[in-house]
């Protein structure tokens, strides 16, 4: 290809005297796939999505979940999504912004949901994750604990677990931990 390089080098020297090109924004393959996911979202009425940085930043968004049954009925829980440029090769990073008393979500907002980590596959999408998160509220499980204490209470004393959840959602202390009202 050296002949071609030679021609190009000559062109480059000429171009250097001409005006520069306008800077170009690159759209990563991950951004494009995410565009597809988002434009095909089909959310249950209990979930809604917002884009804090406006319509042109789809890589960072928030999902609010308002469970319509179970222990967490009436609460609103906000999750932040951070999507990588190599999505869907890599799962989005998801954190729970609302402090919640939950066996599978710790007080820092880390979420134990298999499809966010060990079971992520590129065929899954944002819709699947939101449904997965929704299920955590209708079916919290004590077998994959991130909040060890909450998990133990759910396992040994579901009635106490229920009242702890109500107290946390109403805004108040469970043990030493204060929860902000989210109803």
């Amino acid at each position: 290809m050296i002949k071609l390089f030679k021609v190009k080098e000559k062109q480059r020297e000429i171009a250097e005297n001409a005006n520069g090109k306008t800077p170009v924004k690159k759209q990563s393959a991950g951004e494009l796939r995410l565009h597809k996911d988002i434009s095909e979202l089909n959310l249950p009425k209990t979930c809604s999505i917002t884009f804090p940085n406006g319509k042109d930043d789809l890589m960072n968004f928030e999902v609010s979940i308002r469970p319509d049954e179970g222990y967490y009925l009436g609460g609103t829980f906000v999750f932040t999504f951070q999507v990588s440029p190599i999505y869907p090769h890599e799962a989005p990073k998801v954190k729970c912004k609302t402090k919640v008393y939950h066996p599978n979500i710790d007080l820092e907002g880390n979420v134990c949901l298999n499809i966010l980590r060990e079971d992520w596959k590129p065929v899954l999408n944002i819709n699947t994750i939101i449904y997965g998160l929704f299920h955590l509220f209708t079916q919290p499980n004590y077998e994959d604990p991130l909040n060890h204490e909450a998990a133990a209470v759910l396992r040994d004393n579901p009635k106490l677990f229920e009242s702890n959840v109500r107290r946390a959602m109403a805004g108040g202390y469970v043990g030493q931990t204060f929860f902000i009202r989210c109803i």
Partner: protein, 449 residues
């Protein structure tokens, strides 16, 4: 016989390749001293990464007769690099890798000029990359490869018959190693598969369940990931962990050690901590040397045509015995990054709404309910309702105006295609050309540069 008087013994072996005709040469090969001189004068090569592979690549390319090299790397030298990144000395610790690597190779190989760039690859303008004839990658991350690939493919243009225009092709040579394994590949955008066509070749990173890390750690890696993913947030509320900050890494290491002691788990070391957190398998100097040699030779072959190039993916495995295999992967013809996309000609008066309707009627597309995105601007979104509302007002505007009045460019659309009763969703690349606008030739953009 010795070479010509102008070329001392250093290029004698190279001359055997470049000055004599052969049977296995590339299609455009023209042997002779002009070729050798042109390679030195006109071939401009960028090496991305100045780590284990990058050091080898710079040395190999300089010794292969290339004189115009540049290298880009954002890292500074660490003590743990010194065992294999042979251009660095103890007194270089803390200095930028790109600068030291360039200096050391220039000291040893006379006549070569290496320009270092101590910055992130994203910090450079896209046009910076267009100045090079070949981009050689010595990287350890998928993200960085994906980025460079999308930049190189963005220079590619197709003609109206969907054939790539040769002068817009930016070849890449990609090397990678993990322990005793490695790969070398030649990417000629528009001709051979690009990185994105075959991203599935990279195994996904192993991710442990968070509850395992929190509750039942069994390995040293579990303890490290606990410190990195859970403990860090607990202690540094709100402050993001930076894997490139040595202080952060040391903190994670010391917490991982505490965790490992608590559960009686052996094996947490600082280098393992770095490896787990950055998803890096320890590099082996000789594997780097083998892969780099293959990459440098392919670079020489692409530039000179002195032999056919690797077609197109070499894997090297020295774990059990020694296995080398070359696989010819095929392009994804619908690749969003390197593919031609579907050519669409429009009048400048066509509104976004009309455009969306046209996509449904287009014989090659039949795409209904399209959402449209252009260079990171979402022009119209069918869902969710919040975005539909924000983009609805664009529907009545001319697409030409929404695309900043450029005569031709790439645009992406998502929608559903229906054959018979089966609806499938799809994401397509389109080359939009506006009729009757100055600057339009019969040649069209491929990548959106």
């Amino acid at each position: 016989m010795a070479g010509t008087a102008a070329s001392p013994s250093r290029s004698r072996d190279l001359d055997k390749l470049l000055l004599r005709p052969g049977n296995l040469v590339g299609p455009t090969f023209e042997p002779g001293t002009e070729l050798r001189d042109d390679l030195q004068e006109y071939a401009r090569i960028l090496v991305v990464g100045a780590g284990g592979l990058g050091c080898e690549l710079l040395k190999d390319l300089a010794l292969s007769g290339f004189k115009n090299l540049e290298v880009i790397d954002m890292d500074r030298i660490e003590v743990s690099n010194l065992n294999r990144q042979f251009l660095f000395r103890v007194e270089d610790v803390g200095k930028p890798k790109a600068e030291v690597a360039a200096k050391r190779v220039m000291e040893r190989v006379s006549g070569v000029n290496i320009v270092p760039h101590f910055c992130r690859i994203e910090d450079k303008e896209i046009e910076f990359y267009n100045d090079f004839n070949i981009i050689v990658l010595g990287l350890d991350s998928i993200e960085a490869r994906s980025y460079i690939n999308s930049v190189a493919c963005s220079f590619l243009e197709y003609d109206s018959d969907d054939k790539p225009r040769e002068e817009t092709i930016k070849p890449m040579v990609d090397g990678g190693t993990e322990g005793f394994k490695g790969h070398a590949r030649v990417i000629v955008p528009g001709v051979t598969p690009c990185f994105e066509c075959t991203i599935w070749l990279f195994p996904p990173q192993v991710k442990f369940p968070l509850c395992t890390l929190a509750e039942t750690p069994r390995t040293a890696a579990h303890c490290i990931e606990y410190a990195h993913l859970i403990k860090w947030d607990e202690v540094h509320s709100g402050k993001a962990f930076d894997p490139d900050d040595p202080e952060h890494m040391k903190w994670v290491f010391s917490e991982a050690v505490k965790r490992a002691e608590l559960f009686g788990i052996p094996g947490v070391t600082y280098s393992l901590t770095q490896g787990v957190v950055k998803n890096i398998i320890p590099a082996i100097a000789s594997t780097n040397a083998i892969i780099s040699a293959a990459c440098a030779l392919e670079t020489l072959k692409i530039a000179s045509g002195c032999s056919k190039t690797l077609s197109n993916y070499l894997t090297y495995n020295g774990v059990e015995g020694l296995h080398i295999k070359v696989t010819e992967f095929v392009k994804d013809k619908d690749c969003l990054v390197c593919g031609p996309g579907v050519l669409i000609e429009l009048d400048t008066s066509v509104t976004l709404e009309k455009f969306i309707n046209l996509l449904e009627e287009h014989p090659n597309l039949q795409l209904s309910k399209a959402s449209v995105t252009y260079r990171g601007k979402n022009l119209y979104m069918q869902a969710p309702p919040v975005l539909e509302e924000m983009t609805r007002s664009n529907l009545s505007l001319p697409l030409y105006d929404l695309m900043d009045k450029v005569a031709k460019d790439v645009i992406h659309v998502t929608g559903t295609t229906g054959k018979n009763d089966k609806k499938t969703s799809c994401l397509r690349k389109l080359r939009v050309v506006f009729k009757g606008v100055d600057g339009v030739t019969d040649m069209d953009m491929a990548g959106g540069a």
